[in-house]
């Protein structure tokens, strides 16, 4: 594949390594804009059951009826009429990388996905535009009854299971963007882990936007049955374009008693992507839910992974990183809602801003009446790299139970001239020294990542820093 002009220009401007795009040669591409006809056509195209078609159409009504949110970031500039809501790049899903069209295969190679699959993953789903073009799960996990499919296949092959949970954790009218996703969703992952099955290696999904003005609306549903464990990892990139794309996912997770789910995101969208995602999990008795959410790219991100602690002894953790560079606004954080007694939660947020970027922590901690004996700790730290950048903290706390143990700490620090001088006096360039301070700052979170992802995370931080200092 030839390197495109966009890639060259983008590379110079942003140091963003994934800003290339492939020529479009698609099986199906919708026109721009959103309508009931389009939503019906998507459902038709996918041969969905009637209940899903109705769900979609109703969701569109909700989307159209709701006003844009006026908090968080500026979403008023999103031109919903200019977006492509559905693109199906290939006719069929591939079981082998070799079966993909050469351009698309090449893209996955450049992103390192087939290599990662060989080395340390239990299963991979690769979504390109609206559809998952490649999907595979290790045979031994299939044999244990693990389901790991793209959401469309999940609906086709396991309709009853999907129908039982779909839209129950995040109702279709939960918020404007969840309503949009519910109307036009396509792709995403469907995972079911049977009781007692512990999947040691991560399952990975990778989301790639290729077309300009693309809207990607994947939908993920994960059900972890009793005493089971899964670690799901998602990564995402997009080409650099001068006009905007929209990514608006919905992720619903159910962790049954004694189960554990860890959901790790390494988001690295290009700086022309609006990333407006709703993620929510419920954890039942003695279950554990962990969101590890690292956000580097995008024009605007609004994302607050939530955990509802529904059963006694449930534990939730949100580890959030937001790194906002030039022309970026990352509004990220987490929510933990204690419904049952003796539940515990920890929210750890690390936000970094540089080059005029704006990073915010926005979080909710809620303890309902009756959730006695619950414990929670919220720690949000901000690091500001220069005078032009901005950091905000919006910690919302609502406690309706007196017998609880709640802690909240917040720090704001600036990268110090003295600290940089010290590191530079050992031979590190200013960019290397800054990257080292930032890597250290987020270390409490990166140490939770599998080694390969921790290395990738530190590399992404270095790329963010390069070209950012003179």
């Amino acid at each position: 594949m030839a390197i495109t002009e966009t890639e060259v220009v983008g590379g110079i401007k942003t140091e963003y390594k994934y800003g290339f795009h492939d020529p479009e040669d698609y099986f199906f591409k919708s026109g721009r804009g959103l309508s009931h006809e389009l939503v019906a056509a998507i459902s038709e195209h996918k041969s969905e059951p009637d209940w899903m078609r109705k769900f979609r159409l109703k969701s569109l009504d909700y989307f159209l009826a709701r006003p844009l949110p006026e908090w968080g970031g500026n979403v008023a500039e999103i031109d919903f009429d200019n977006i492509f809501y559905y693109i199906r790049p290939t006719e069929n899903q591939a079981k082998s990388w070799e079966d993909l069209p050469p351009d698309i295969k090449n893209t996955w190679d450049r992103l390192g996905i087939p290599e990662a699959e060989k080395n340390y993953l239990a299963g991979v789903g690769a979504q390109y535009e609206s559809e998952v073009v490649y999907h595979k799960l290790k045979k031994e996990l299939e044999d244990q009854g693990v389901l790991f499919l793209d959401m469309d296949s999940g609906l086709r092959e396991h309709e009853e299971l999907v129908k039982e949970y779909f839209g129950t954790i995040i109702p279709q009218n939960d918020n404007k963007f969840a309503a949009l996703n519910s109307a036009v969703w396509s792709g995403g992952s469907f995972i079911y882990v049977p009781p007692g099955v512990q999947i040691e290696m991560p399952l990975q999904a990778y989301f790639r936007i290729n077309a300009e003005n693309m809207g990607q609306f994947e939908r993920t549903l994960i059900i972890v049955d009793e005493d089971a464990y899964v670690h799901y990892v998602e990564g995402c990139t997009a080409p650099v374009y001068s006009t905007d794309s929209l990514h608006s996912a919905v992720v619903e997770i159910i962790v049954k008693p004694g189960g554990r789910c860890r959901y790790t995101t390494i988001q690295n969208w290009s700086n022309n992507v609006y990333n407006l995602v709703t993620k929510r999990a419920v954890a039942y008795e003695n279950a554990t839910m962990e969101w590890v959410d690292a956000n580097l790219g995008s024009k605007l991100t609004m994302k607050y992974p939530a955990i509802w602690l529904m059963g006694e002894g449930a534990h939730g953790e949100v580890l959030s990183i937001a790194f906002a560079g030039q022309d970026q606004h990352l509004d990220a954080g987490g929510k933990c809602v204690h419904v049952a007694p003796n539940t515990s939660s920890i929210i750890t947020s690390k936000s970094i801003s540089r080059g005029g970027g704006r990073a915010s922590y926005r979080g909710l901690l809620e303890v309902a009446k009756g959730a006695e004996g619950s414990k929670s700790k919220v720690v949000c730290d901000a690091l500001i790299l220069d005078e032009d950048s901005r950091s905000d903290t919006y910690p919302y706390i609502r406690i309706d139970e007196s017998n609880v143990d709640i802690g909240h700490e917040a720090t704001v620090s600036k990268i110090g001239d003295e600290q940089l001088f010290y590191l530079m006096s050992r031979g590190l360039s200013e960019a290397e020294a800054s990257a080292m301070v930032v890597s250290g700052f987020v270390e409490p979170i990166t140490k939770e990542l599998p080694l390969e992802y921790a290395v990738e995370m530190n590399r992404l931080i270095q790329l963010q820093m390069e070209g950012s200092v003179g």
Partner: protein
């Protein structure tokens, strides 16, 4: 040619306040120099200016490293040439382990020595060298996995400065009051580090308030530094004279009494 040569060096703060007021000094290969002065004399400012701290500007004179003017260079470039400063107050870098920092710094220096080509130290070799250096400097192994200077005691910080010096093998090491606040054992370790570094192609400049460290490492040259200037120079015997008479004998009348401090305080700040 001297490794480090200062000619009529003047250093000022950003607001124009002159701190170093004309220093001439030459450190040749194989030489250990001691720069001794009271609190507030500008010793640390001189050290910072040599290393390239952005708040200390060289306003006049020359600072030559191996004959090359370094005044316009960044701290990283000076380090890559082979200049090292052991800090009086080393900074903490939370989240970065001593080992990880050490390897990154070593690779930065190696890259510069390889003419800009990456030349990373093989991990087993690095591990072996670092553990050996730590053992030699009596630094507990567990310190390698702790975050750099984060929660370290004063003595641990100074030992880790000497560890960095031993690993990076600079050509000229400047030690800024590395001896202050150390017990005798730690002092001996610092002295050992300096003696082992200085050889036929390397030199050191020990900046200190006290004569104490000079019991363990013998400088060939002693410079008495008062109010931004070298006011007297001599051999090791000068240090003993200072010990006996204090700095008062070297101070202008106006300063004696007014500026003199006891000489027993620890962690004293320098302008």
């Amino acid at each position: 040619m001297p490794l480090l040569e200062l000619k009529d060096l003047h250093v000022a703060l950003e607001d124009g306040t002159e701190i170093v007021k004309g220093v001439d000094l030459a450190v040749n290969p194989g030489e250990i120099h001691a720069l001794m002065g009271p609190n507030g004399s500008g010793k640390s400012s001189l050290a910072y200016a040599l290393m390239g701290h952005p708040a200390y500007e060289i306003t006049r004179g020359e600072a030559l490293f191996d004959g090359q003017e370094i005044a316009e260079m960044g701290a990283d470039e000076r380090a890559q040439l082979g200049l090292f400063l052991a800090f009086q107050y080393p900074h903490a870098v939370p989240g970065v382990t001593v080992a990880s920092f050490m390897r990154t710094a070593l690779n930065a220096i190696r890259k510069a020595r390889a003419g800009g080509e990456d030349d990373p130290v093989p991990v087993p070799e690095f591990r072996k060298d670092m553990l050996a250096a730590m053992e030699h400097l009596k630094i507990p192994r567990e310190l390698a996995q702790r975050y750099l200077n984060d929660g370290f005691s004063g003595g641990e910080k100074k030992r880790v400065e000497i560890l960095q010096m031993a690993m990076l093998k600079p050509r000229v090491a400047v030690l800024d009051e590395t001896d202050s606040g150390l017990d005798i054992d730690a002092l001996k370790i610092v002295a050992t580090g300096v003696k082992e570094l200085v050889g036929s192609e390397t030199g050191a400049l020990i900046i200190t308030h006290y004569q104490r460290i000079l019991n363990y490492v013998k400088p060939a040259f002693v410079h008495v530094f008062v109010d931004g200037r070298i006011v007297e120079e001599g051999g090791p015997e000068l240090a003993h004279k200072l010990e006996a008479e204090g700095y008062e004998a070297f101070m202008p009348v106006a300063y004696a009494g007014a500026r003199l401090t006891s000489g027993t305080g620890e962690g004293e700040g320098e302008a």
